[in-house]
């Protein structure tokens, strides 16, 4: 037994602090993605207190170990090193040693030394070079000078996440400001991060204090204001100076950045190199304009040679316009990462609210889509995430009983497939009870009993998204998967996208949203049907084949045709839209697909590809089944654009629509 047994007041505080530190480390382990900065900072503070405590009482071994732990934690909280499971293990080992050292300092001395060395050996991330984003934040000097290094780091992180720093001025009574601020902090969870709290006098009042709070948040002003719960607050975003223009070399490939957070300002920051390239295109177009003007004077040319020249310039013009359009589309593209990051924070908050353990993993955050799509996607995605947490993922106890890991897993992924992006949200929760869906569908008259009994999963899926189903209050019995899904579906359809769901009882549910990469223009295949022209969005066209009516067979109520070894359902557009059939029609089969689903469209003729600017049908026409909008195709001709997702739904769930005949 060591002769210099530490005094009791040291041991008890050391053990207490070490225990608290250990609890916080476990909190960090549970949180998915980026560790909660507040928890990380309090772990750091606890290690720091331990060090001070040990040093004060002459406990060198513990002071040394605590110093090494504090040092590592300092780097972690300042973003200079990343928290990995193995580093977390090292820190947890230290907690154990702290407790032993507090009781019997002599015993674990050697282990403490080795562990301290291992803690110190952790590699740092390379330092970030370039300008300090904080220098662009127009913070009043009296606010900046009271920030600690950690607070400055948190503000930098806020700016890097493309979120805003808000300054909120509030007054609270002297006797209750601490409780008020604690409550405010709690309400801020998931909305933003309280980075700094600067107290000041409240005018001449002695019974109150004023505070300037710096809050990092991606939320809008209205949402933040709500957090203050009616207390008068002077809330404004701290302005951020424009980024210095980047040099043109090597920067051209960098994506444009969303200027504001999820608040959704109608502005976009575009790399200057991209604008330069656009200017070049305009320069080219001017040259072509000059060349065409030159032709008007070229009297020496024969009419034939003149036509050849004119056509050549026209081709140059079209080529350059194509390039210009491409570049403009590119400029609208932003990565999904900020949206994914926001979901990460949301999941943490929602899981906490629901009292469940949920880990969100993401994949494909670098995939880029149209800025407007990112904004419009937020609401439906939040809805799906909430559904998954509230109703999909089971409470931990129940999960264990079912032999699943305690923490539920959500996987949010994005993948670009040609001109489409597929976003998927998968949970490993209870899944949809299809038998129950069938029953509810019958009860609510959405399917007649006979149809319902025969309905496959595809047909029942469509039921899940129908308004009659989702307003049902009884749906909690089937994991609540129907709640509000019709709204989600409508939102997604508004973005020319489709949503589908796949679910196995007991295993989980996956929602898949397929969207065009951009909303600006859609390239379409023009097809002729009974003398009329329709456009099929090219992004969903998979194949165009010569139609052979002999091959069409009837299978389980659908007309199907074998295509590349797979049997796919076919419909005649003429019948779908109630048009007279042409005797010599039905020459082509256009195979369309969304996600895993396929459908063959029988058409009479093909009229080539065109860029389409789609517009919704006017209020007089309203919604026409199978049509997503109209597009002008030159010379004031308008064509209707097919809603492939809706056609797929209709055909795959409805009664046999038609029989294609020769």
């Amino acid at each position: 037994m060591s002769p210099d047994r530490p005094p009791a007041e040291f041991s008890s505080e050391a053990v207490e602090t070490a225990e608290a530190l250990g609890r916080n480390l476990l909190l960090l382990e549970k949180s998915a993605g980026e560790p909660d900065p507040e928890v990380l900072n309090s772990v750091f503070r606890q290690a720091h207190s331990l060090k001070g405590l040990a040093a004060t009482f002459g406990q060198e071994r513990m002071a040394e170990l605590a110093h090494a732990a504090e040092d590592l934690l300092d780097r972690l909280r300042l973003g200079k090193a990343r928290l990995t499971p193995s580093r977390l293990d090292l820190l947890l080992e230290a907690v154990e040693l702290f407790q032993r050292l507090a009781e019997t300092p002599g015993k674990a001395a050697k282990e403490a030394k080795t562990l301290a060395a291992r803690l110190s050996a952790v590699e740092e991330l390379p330092e970030r070079l370039g300008e300090d984003p904080l220098d662009r934040l127009e913070l009043a000097p009296e606010m900046r000078r009271v920030l600690t290094e950690f607070e400055e780091h948190r503000l930098r992180e806020t700016l890097r996440r493309e979120e805003l720093v808000w300054a909120a001025r509030v007054e609270y009574p002297l006797e209750s400001f601490d409780r008020e601020l604690e409550q405010l902090k709690a309400r801020l969870r998931g909305v933003g991060e309280l980075v700094s709290t600067l107290p000041g006098p409240a005018g001449n009042r002695v019974d109150a204090l004023s505070f300037v709070l710096l809050i990092g948040s991606g939320a809008g002003q209205a949402e933040l204001r709500k957090v203050f719960g009616g207390v008068p607050v002077d809330l404004s975003a701290v302005p951020v100076r424009k980024e210095r223009p980047a040099g043109p070399e090597g920067e051209a490939g960098r994506p444009a950045e969303a200027a504001e957070g999820a608040g959704g300002a109608r502005t976009l920051r575009v790399d200057i190199a991209r604008l330069d390239a656009l200017m070049d295109d305009v320069g080219e177009l001017r040259l072509i304009g000059e060349a065409i003007r030159g032709l008007s004077d070229a009297r020496e040319l024969s009419p034939r040679a003149w036509t050849v020249e004119l056509l050549r310039e026209q081709r140059r013009l079209v080529r350059r316009l194509d390039i210009l359009q491409d570049r403009l589309l590119q400029a609208r593209m932003v990565p999904l990462r900020p949206l994914f990051d926001r979901m990460q924070r949301l999941v943490r908050r929602m899981a906490r609210e629901a009292g469940k353990e949920v880990v969100l993993e993401t994949a494909g955050a670098e995939v880029q889509i149209d800025k407007r799509l990112v904004e419009e996607l937020s609401d439906p995605l939040v809805h799906l995430v909430r559904n998954a947490i509230d109703h999909g993922i089971e409470p931990s106890g129940l999960r264990e009983g079912r032999g699943k890991p305690r923490a539920g897993r959500l996987l949010l992924s994005a993948e670009q497939l040609g001109a489409r992006v597929v976003l998927a949200l998968a949970d490993d929760g209870a899944g949809v009870d299809w038998a129950r869906v069938r029953e509810v569908a019958i009860q609510r008259g959405l399917l007649d009993e006979h149809r319902a009994r025969a309905a496959g999963e595809r047909e029942l899926q469509a039921v899940l998204f129908s308004p009659g189903f989702s307003t049902a209050s009884a749906v909690s019995a089937m994991s609540g998967r129907g709640v509000g899904l019709d709204v989600v579906k409508t939102n997604i359809a508004g973005l020319s996208g489709v949503i589908d769901v796949e679910s196995r009882a007991g295993e989980g549910t996956t929602f898949r949203v397929t969207l065009p990469v951009t909303l600006a223009t859609v390239r379409g295949l023009l097809v002729g049907v009974s003398g009329r022209v329709y456009a099929v969005p090219l992004s969903s066209v998979l194949d165009v084949l010569a139609n052979d009516n002999q091959q069409i067979e009837s299978e389980r109520g659908h007309n199907v045709v074998p295509v590349r070894g797979r049997s796919i359902p076919v419909v005649s557009l003429a019948e779908t839209f109630g048009l007279p059939r042409k005797a010599d029609g039905s020459a082509y089969l256009v195979v369309v697909g969304v996600a895993e689903r396929r459908l063959g469209l029988v058409v009479d003729a093909l009229h080539g590809q065109r860029d389409l600017v789609t517009q919704a049908l006017g209020p007089r026409l309203g919604q026409v089944p199978g049509i997503s909008g109209a597009a002008e195709v030159g010379h004031h001709h308008t064509v209707l654009v097919l809603d492939v997702g809706a056609l797929l739904d209709e055909v795959l769930r409805g009664p046999p629509l038609l029989v294609a005949q020769g």
């Binding site: 009296e142 107290p199 006098p201």
Partner: protein, 124 residues
Amino acid sequence: MGYKVLIVEDSTASREFIASTIQQIEGAEVVCAGSGFDALKLLPRYRFDLIITDINMPDINGLELINFVKMNPNYRETPLFIVTGEGREHDRERGLQLGAAEFLIKPLQSEQLNELVRRYLKVA
């Protein structure tokens, strides 16, 4: 006549060490705050002759507390020490700029602290 010293520090052991050191000085009385918020509540209640504060605390940081003290005409003249375990250049610079009189790094030596406190309290 007596002196009042405010100690703002979230670690109990550290707080008690500083308190016991200062209590050895004749006529010195110690008031302890476990957090910056507590300090904000204590400041208007007493007239302090010296304030000793930590930097890294859970509610407001020591720099914010110093700023608060230095902005208020009632407390502005009160000398202020920073006591911290981190010898951070960043904090040291800002603390002294804000008007802290001394920047002390833990572990503290009892005699050294005793001497400094005496000097600022102008105890013989």
